[in-house]
């Protein structure tokens, strides 16, 4: 069993928090992504789990054992760095064998394990080369092999695909995920790229400004973001957010359109917002272009995205929203357009607290919405 538990783990520098107290449980064999923009605290959190950063508060448990003050070498973890951290003067084989050799393992055990991981990552042709002769993707494969060879309880990865060219990231992403599935190894993966987190994570921890914003499955953070930050950060583009005054079951949008909220939402919105400002959130692909749609605007720009078109719709001067549309239609700049929103997929937020609202009676937080 390789569970990781963080209890009120925090990192402070003087009065500034690099990571505010966080509670997190990672189950055996789970792939958890720590996601957020630069400086949000995700790498610091990872480094605290590994022992490369000492906590200023809280406790860390590996498999139920309190490892908060154990050195990194005493924790049963492997760390994969963004810039590979391969030993430049050693060959690939020596790099991979190093963790076992430094533990004093016997030569035949070392050979066997090295062979295993080398075949797993398909790097046999490179065994005699030195790191500087390899491409970025290959270097990362070697780094992964080195981390696998000790069969640790958990893998900690710090933006391992960040240093690779965009075209290699897709392939390596799938490879790392397949590796994780085959090894059934608990993995904590730090990234600023929400596509990576969504594709690979069993659960995602979204962080911003040293605070955990939401912990959930890809589906949860995508369709039920807990606050405005998560709504905007997840997805490419992020959730489209439009603010407007709410009264009598409808939101008035910039430009004058009136959007009637779905019936299921009315009671709780009347309760929590009353008449007042409300933020509508919808994903670009849940908007449906229709001649009788409630929301009206003008096409500001069109982007070809290969298989579909993204329309940047100008609601009234300064407010742009993105709406996905099929390529078969021609959309010209300046063309008036109307669209509606999928009733089960639309979300609402309180602009003052920035938190998501729920259609259930405004008692609990974040109830399950039918998706």
């Amino acid at each position: 069993m390789a569970t990781i538990e963080l209890k009120q783990v925090e990192k402070k520098f003087g009065e500034n928090y690099a990571v505010r107290p966080v509670d997190l449980t990672i189950n055996d064999g789970e792939f958890v992504a720590l996601l957020g923009p630069s400086g949000c605290g995700k790498t610091t959190t990872l480094r605290m789990i590994s022992g490369l950063e000492a906590v200023t508060g809280g406790r860390i448990y590996l498999d139920g054992k309190d490892v908060t003050w154990l050195k990194a070498s005493e924790r049963d973890i492997a760390f994969v760095f963004q810039f590979f951290a391969l030993y430049p003067q050693m060959t690939v084989r020596q790099n991979i064998a190093f963790p076992l050799e430094s533990q004093g393992e016997k030569q035949d055990v070392i050979s066997k394990r090295v062979d295993e991981v080398v075949d797993m990552l398909r790097i046999r042709p490179m065994l005699k080369l030195k790191p500087h002769m390899l491409s970025g993707g290959d270097k990362q494969r070697v780094a992964l092999a080195r981390s696998l060879v000790r069969r640790p309880a958990c893998f900690l990865m710090d933006e391992p695909l960040g240093a690779l060219d965009a075209e290699f990231r897709e392939a390596m992403r799938a490879e790392i995920k397949r590796l994780h599935i085959a090894q059934h190894a608990t993995t904590v993966y730090v990234t600023h790229d929400q596509v990576e987190a969504m594709a690979m994570g069993d659960r995602i921890v979204v962080m911003s400004n040293a605070i955990v914003q939401q912990i959930g499955t890809p589906a949860e953070v995508y369709h039920d973001p807990a606050n405005l930050f998560v709504a905007n950060f997840i997805g490419s583009p992020g959730m489209q957010l439009v603010k407007g005054p709410y009264a009598d079951g409808a939101v008035q949008l910039p430009g004058g359109s009136l959007y009637p909220v779905p019936a299921a939402w009315r009671p709780s919105l009347d309760d929590s917002i009353g008449p007042g400002e409300l933020v509508i959130g919808f994903r670009a692909e849940t908007a449906e272009v229709a001649e009788d749609g409630p929301i009206a605007g003008k096409v500001f720009n069109t982007d070809l995205h290969g298989s579909y078109v993204v329309l940047h719709v100008d609601l009234a001067g300064d407010q742009l929203v993105q709406v996905r549309a099929r390529r078969d239609h021609e959309y010209g700049i300046g063309m008036p357009i109307r669209f509606g929103l999928n009733e089960t997929m639309v979300r609402f937020f309180d602009p003052k607290t920035e938190l998501a609202l729920s259609p259930a009676e405004s008692r609990g937080v974040g109830g399950e919405v039918g998706a």
Binding site: P37, S38, D165, A166, E167, E170, A171, R173, A174, K177, R178, I181, H192, D193, Q194, V195, M198, A199, M200, P218, A219, Y222, H223, N232, F233, I234, G235, S236, P237, G238, R283, A284, E285, F300, N301, D303, L304, H305, G306, S307, V310, H312, L320, A371
Partner: protein
Amino acid sequence: MSQVTLEGVTKHFRIVTALHEVSFDIKDGEFFVMLGPTGAGKTTTLRVIAGLEKQDSGSVTFDGATMDKLPPADRDVAFVFQQYSLYPNMTVYDNLAFPLRSPIRRTKEAEIKLRVGEIAEVLRITHLLPRKTAKLSGGEMQRVSIGRAIVRSPRIYLMDEPLSNLDAKLREALRVELAHLQKTQGSTTLFVTHDQIEALTMAERIAVLNMGQIVQIGSPTDIYDRPASTFVAQLVGSPKINLLDANCEDGTLCLARGENRARLADICGDGGTLPPKFILGVRPEDVRLQSDGVFGGEVILIEPLGVETLVHIKAGEQTLVCTVPGISSTRRGDTVRFNVTRDRLHFFDPARGTRL
């Protein structure tokens, strides 16, 4: 604004040929993108146009006038670098004013103030003017870099991967801004990138570069729908296009190393022009899971991206990716059947990778 023409430009660096007979033209006011992997020669091309590198042969002309003998200062181009374009010890205001203060221009201070103010408004960085550039965030820095380029109203903008050092979210935001700016100003822009989304969304025309040579020039639709080779096909489109070994047998299309077959009489029949073995290209969004599908395989990986789900299917010995909108109920290990959209198939020569 100017029109730019490159004619047979070749550049060697010692033993490496960075550019080989590169020729293309950019129309006045066009947003032209050079797309290619690292090392393809995109930056070198930009530098030759700017005058920072001298080409070994070939010519660069602006509006018909050759630029080859002119130093960078006289060519009236603006260059936005990937990084390090802002002077760290100066304020944002001084950085923006710097090009205007150059001896060639000798603009008066009052005019400078006006112009810098204008540009700061457009880029929404007025509040940053007194700050030292070292204290800016990545996104703010790039906005100021763009401001520096605009402030001079040059004949042509040369941008060298200006967004690639930014976080994914920031890149998105700046991309939209840049595209909008270019459209409203009508500026001739040559934009270099290795990111295909940037190329597809911003360009009016794209030139694909590989190892110093132009491989294809066309509109984004051309490049996406009619790639000239497997290289171009793989370069654009996310997720990447599926390239499968295939062959024809008696009017049936067969995916190699597996049992998948489909009748395609017009392509694979007697009138067909395909070689015995070829590479079949099909984009993931053109692969559709259908219970009565012609092809079959096993799901080996699911990648939920929220807006769509990528389903990796193993068909025989080959793997392909299928895009399913929204959240899919397919699970790893499922056996599935799928179809491919007939008119969105691409065929490539297996040896040279060129389009058939």
